[in-house]
């Protein structure tokens, strides 16, 4: 097992709000692999005030992803410089849930939040794919190609939406196909959602580069 294996696993962890891998966003501050297979990952975010729920999801997902790497020993994931870092790090280290990190301040775990943002991400990705097909209503998922299409399939699988080649290419956030009369409005809403995610990603990249004095990475 090498550091590259660990980084590859971390590359499957997405910022749920931005729908981008935490590695591409440069949220992985450091990653060390010891001789005995113990892995130590440190995460950093664009501001100390980033939302605790999304921060927790990324830290917990990173821990879980690294644990799947064959040959890995003890896994430590620590979120740096965050105003609720102590709470989050303690829960992540102890295999606790979000409710354990913030007792009394939650009603449930973060599944509903994660699902909501997967649906947003799916709509946004489709917004970019709409202009690649001649007839969006008759298009099938198998007709779509490229990174956005790959990610759409992942998101649809995670959401329990048909992700086979023969499935309709364009679906609303709830998984139902977009009917012909609604395509124009769907395109407008999908484009807006995509721009919102991109703008947020842009702000996050800028703030991270200012905060840590690192060279900005292109979106």
């Amino acid at each position: 097992m090498t550091k590259d294996d660990v980084l590859a696993a971390l590359g499957t962890v997405y910022d749920p709000e931005l729908d981008e891998p935490i590695t591409a966003l440069k949220f992985v501050a450091s990653c060390e692999v010891a001789d005995d297979g113990a892995v130590s990952v440190r995460l950093r975010l664009p501001t100390p005030q980033c939302a605790p729920n999304f921060a927790f999801l990324m830290a917990a997902d990173a821990r879980d992803a690294v644990r799947t790497v064959p040959g890995v020993g003890a896994v430590s994931v620590v979120l740096e410089d965050h105003y609720t870092g102590n709470e989050i790090n303690a829960a992540v280290a102890g295999d606790g849930g979000f409710g354990d990190a913030f007792p009394g301040e939650t009603e449930g775990e973060l599944d509903a939040l994660r699902e909501l943002f997967r649906r947003k991400a799916l709509v946004a990705r489709q917004g970019r794919l709409l202009e690649t097909v001649a007839d969006p209503v008759s298009a099938r998922l198998g007709d779509l190609t490229g990174p956005d299409a790959v990610r759409c399939r992942e998101l649809r699988s995670e959401l329990g939406i048909d992700a086979s080649d023969e499935a309709p290419a364009f679906v609303r956030g709830d998984g139902t196909p977009v009917p012909a009369p609604e395509i124009a409005r769907f395109a407008r809403m999908a484009s807006l959602t995509a721009i919102s995610l991109e703008a947020n990603g842009g702000v996050c990249r800028s703030l991270l580069s200012v905060r840590y004095g690192i060279e900005e990475v292109a979106a």
Binding site: P48, Y83, E105, T106, G108, A112, L113, L192, V203, R211
Partner: protein, 346 residues
Amino acid sequence: MYEKDGEKYFVVDSHSHFWDASPENWVKGAEEYAKGWIECFHAYQGLGPAETHWSLEKFQKYTAEDFEKDVFDEGHVDVAIFQPTYLKEWYTNGFNTAEQDSVMAARNPDKSIVNGRFDPRDGDPGLRQLEEDHAKYGHKGVKLYTAEWNSGSRGYKLSDDIAQPYFEKCIELGISNIHVHKGPTIWPLDKDAFDVADVDKVATRYQELNFIVEHVGLPRIEDFCFMATQERNVYAGLAVVIGGLMHARPRFFAKVMGELLFWVGEDKMLFGADYAIWEPKWQVEGLVDWDFPDDTFSDYPRLGVEGKKKILGLNAAKLYGIDVPAEFRLDDEEPAAREAAQLVES
């Protein structure tokens, strides 16, 4: 005022601050939060042009003279609307209170509007405080920060039952402009704190009030836009959009402006510099000069001189009943004060 190519712009900065985040004002035991908050703001300043960046020390606490020079003398601002952010759990005297703002306003009474605040978790004493503040400062608006911490609670929603008496009190007192700023925490913490559904609910319920969603609901521009199309009394506060994107990410800025012009429209967008995060000068001048970068943006509505005049000042002047001198008005426009007065009477 700002003049360019023979056009005169009356500038209302709808989002301004006079804060004290110096270490002397940090609450003991909460230093990391107080420090983190202002350093986060300081990082945002980094998104503006390099020649407008300040040292962290100056950024933590600037003087009244700094404000007057940057906002009124060089920043083209005719009227500044001060938006308070108390954060008394982190800052001993508050981060930016109406009291601090009133010091600036006393020096520049014709150029200043001091907004208030409330926190529905303060119950009846909070309602009385709002009355007292209104009597003292003549508030026409309040700024609400839903992610503010208060005695163990990390936030609230505008639709919470405890908030409703406060909106009714605002209507009674004639505080008609509710500026809403979403932040990263809210109870319960597992929900999306930036969700604007609660604004939608109260905007429908209180037709007498205007709801200005600050930072256009960032990071939920899409939710904000869908909601704003359905609510007559919901407005877009452009603070952070211009300051954070126009210089640092001009193509994103163009896309976001295009979407806002399409969904919200130039009649409901309000300029705000968010001083001292960013100085108004480069933002006002940049917006007046701004156009879509190329024809890949041809799907979006255009923004002309008239629209820029509305966004930079005339829209906010209407909401606040500011009397705009004739030379700055649009040809077909009623004087703002008269129109606002009619609204109150009807």
